[in-house]
Every structure is written in structure tokens, then in C-alpha cells.
């Protein structure tokens, strides 16, 4: 009887201690977003999953996952299919607007070698600004009609801007602003949320299954996937921007694509670019 009382009280004391403990740890480690730790975990996940892949090679998407494909691509790169777009982009970039100003006037360093800083968080606007968005704003500020966000002119311009930044390391900053952290978290949430009739999240293909085949294609790893944008896709027989890629990803999982440059797309681009910090820009890319 006595033993039992002691035991009961001991159990009660233990339970109380455990409760106190749980409460303490809840205070010590609240569920705060930690992008630095996220990026590290994200990168570690891929390097552990693919120990043979050279780290910088992740930016080459499916080619990093398959040797045969890599060889074919190396040959293709001697005569890349994005060459026409690149040349058009270079010309467009240098051509002045009707008011005499050029794209170079809208960007730091005259628009050369700056791809790695996009998207950035604009503290005045309180939102993420992508390169595509910045280009169209530049056009509108100079009295020109904006371009479509998905292909053609926009893809040619971003192709040229990526080309002048090749090899520069992705350098996305999250300023000390709760809205920036929220944008990052929102992008992360979008990336990991399942949607569409097929109930896929972005991560289902690009985190869980890179290197696996989806029909004839080989899935690209999510790490560094933004570094190669914009891309020439043989499937499209044309160039496409990040917006185009997101929209096709959505429709391929039978989800309803969002409007190009909607807040969610901007945020998910912010998230994906941030976790690829330190990886070189390789765009414009060519993909099957």
C-alpha cells in the first residue's frame, strides 16, 4: 500500500517534470522559420542522396542525374538551341526605348552579371521582385507595353541577362523584415503542398524523385533548378521563362496554373533560389 503511494507520487512527479520540460522546450525552440538551417538541410539532402554528383553540377538539372544524358548535352552545348534567343536578347537589351533610355538604365551595373541577385525582396513594396517582373516594370516606366511573362521576348531578355551572369554564385538575401520571412515561408509552403488531381507537390517530383523517369523524361533535382532559367525545352520547341516552367508543372499534375508572376510563384521562386545560394548561374539552359 505504502509502496504504491510512493510509486504513484513518483509517477506524478515524473509526469509533472515531463510537462515542465515540454513547456520549457516549447519556449526555448519555438517554431520559427530558419532559412539558413533550411538551406543547409536542403543542400545536404541532395548531396547525401547523390554522393557521386559534383556539387556545381546540380544546376544542370536532369543532366546531373544521368551520364548518357550528360554526354548528349555536352555535345548539344557546342551548338545550343537557345542561341537564336540569346542573340535576339542581346540585341533587344541594347536597343533604346522610344524615350532614348535602355534596359541598362533600370538595373544596377547596367544589367550585366546581376542574375544571381534575383529574385530579391523589395522592402518598399513588401513583396518579392523577380527579374521578369523588374524587366516589365522597366518597360512600363519608360512608356513601353509589357511583354508576356512566359516566352519569346521575355525569355530572350532573361536569357541574355543570365548569360552575362554565368558562373556567378546565386546570392539571394532575406532582409531583416518579417514580411520577407513570410514570403520565404509562403514559397516553401507552396513547394511542399500537394495539389491537383494527381495530388503532387513540387517536392514529390523534384525532391523525392530526381533522377527517376517520368515517362521519357528524367526529373531534375530541385536544388539549383532556378540557376538554369530561362530554358529552351525541346518539348516546347521554344524558350520558356520561370513562369512558364511553374505553369506547366502545375498543369502536368492537373492543377490549375496560377497567373504568371502571382505572389505564390514569386514566393516559390524566392524560396528555391535562396536554398540554391552558392551554386553558379548556368542559364540559359537547354532541356529535353
Amino acid at each position: 500500500m505504502r509502496v504504491r503511494t510512493i510509486l504513484t507520487s513518483a509517477v506524478a512527479a515524473l509526469a509533472a517534470a515531463a510537462l515542465a520540460c515540454a513547456a520549457a522546450s516549447a519556449i526555448a525552440a519555438p517554431d520559427r522559420p530558419d532559412p539558413v538551417a533550411d538551406a543547409k538541410a536542403f543542400q545536404n539532402f541532395f548531396t547525401r542522396k547523390f554522393p557521386k554528383v559534383k556539387y556545381e553540377d546540380f544546376v544542370n538539372g536532369p543532366y546531373s542525374m544521368n551520364e548518357d544524358l550528360h554526354r548528349q548535352w555536352e555535345e548539344k552545348e557546342q551548338f545550343p538551341p537557345y542561341e537564336f534567343a540569346l542573340e535576339a536578347g542581346k540585341e533587344m537589351f541594347a536597343t533604346p526605348f522610344k524615350n532614348g533610355k535602355t534596359y541598362a538604365d533600370c538595373f544596377p551595373n547596367k544589367g550585366n552579371g546581376i542574375r544571381q541577385n534575383y529574385p530579391y525582396f523589395d522592402e518598399k513594396e513588401g513583396k518579392v521582385v523577380t527579374l521578369e517582373l523588374a524587366l516589365n516594370r522597366c518597360r512600363e516606366a519608360n512608356g513601353e507595353a509589357p511583354y508576356s511573362y512566359v516566352k519569346d521576348e521575355m525569355a530572350a531578355l532573361t536569357a541574355y541577362m543570365a548569360f552575362t551572369s554565368r558562373g556567378n554564385k546565386m546570392d539571394i538575401k532575406i532582409p531583416d523584415d518579417p514580411r520577407a520571412l513570410e514570403a520565404y515561408e509562403n514559397g516553401k509552403r507552396y513547394f511542399y503542398t500537394r495539389r491537383g488531381q494527381l495530388n503532387f507537390s513540387c517536392a514529390t517530383c523534384h525532391v523525392q524523385s530526381p533522377g527517376e523517369r517520368i515517362r521519357a523524361e528524367i526529373l531534375a533535382p530541385a536544388l539549383g533548378i532556378m540557376n538554369a532559367m530561362p530554358i529552351y525545352r525541346s518539348e516546347w520547341s521554344s524558350m520558356g521563362t520561370t513562369s512558364r516552367r511553374f505553369m506547366t508543372c502545375n498543369s502536368q499534375t492537373r492543377a490549375v496554373p496560377l497567373e504568371p508572376q502571382s505572389d505564390e510563384y514569386r514566393d516559390v521562386e524566392y524560396f528555391l533560389s535562396y536554398v540554391a545560394n552558392g551554386l553558379p548561374i548556368s542559364g540559359p539552359g537547354a532541356r529535353p
Binding site: Q78, F79, P81, E83, F84, E87
Partner: protein, 103 residues
């Protein structure tokens, strides 16, 4: 306007390897546009590579060749510095010609 033809020809001993990329819509005539109207056929019918006035590669193309076609082949008998003339003619009578130096 810039040429629609990109060429790279490299001589390696007796053999010259040629790569070319041509900008052309290559519409088959079986595709509809967003308004449901047939996009009329528009494709390259003949592609020629000439070395010293002699055709070294001749292609009779049709609707089945994809947009912005890429060609790669090699031939014997040319040396570094020789000229290679490339030309195409499409079904609407349009054409383009360019000359490249073999490297």
C-alpha cells in the same frame, strides 16, 4: 537581319565535320492556331552545302522536320580555310545563303 543559318565546320585531318542550326518555323500545315485556323505549311524544301561549287550535302526536306532544324554531318576532301556555302529554299520561295570558313 542576322542570318538564319549558324554553321560550324571543323577540319580534322582529311575529314571535315559540319554542324548547322537553321532558324525556320517549319510549319507542317497540320497545326491549328489559338483561333482554330490552320497554320499554312511553311517548311524548307531544299538544303544544300557546297564546297568548291560541288554539293557535299543535299537534303530534300518536308513537313516532318522540326522547327529550327539542326544538321550534323562530315565529308572528306576539304581543308582548313576553305569556304563552305550553305543555302536553303522553302516552299514559299524564300531562301537564305551564308558562307562559312572551315576551321
Amino acid at each position: 537581319m542576322a542570318s538564319t543559318i549558324r554553321v560550324r565546320a571543323t577540319a580534322n585531318g582529311d575529314t571535315t565535320e559540319v554542324q548547322a542550326l537553321i532558324q525556320h518555323p517549319m510549319d507542317s500545315g497540320f497545326v491549328k492556331d489559338a483561333q482554330g485556323q490552320i497554320i499554312p505549311p511553311h517548311f524548307i524544301q531544299q538544303l544544300t552545302f557546297e564546297h568548291n561549287g560541288k554539293a557535299v550535302f543535299l537534303a530534300n526536306w518536308g513537313a516532318a522536320v522540326s522547327k529550327d532544324p539542326y544538321v550534323k554531318f562530315s565529308f572528306k576532301g576539304a581543308g582548313k580555310g576553305d569556304d563552305l556555302k550553305i543555302s536553303w529554299v522553302d516552299n514559299k520561295g524564300a531562301s537564305d545563303t551564308t558562307t562559312a570558313k572551315i576551321q
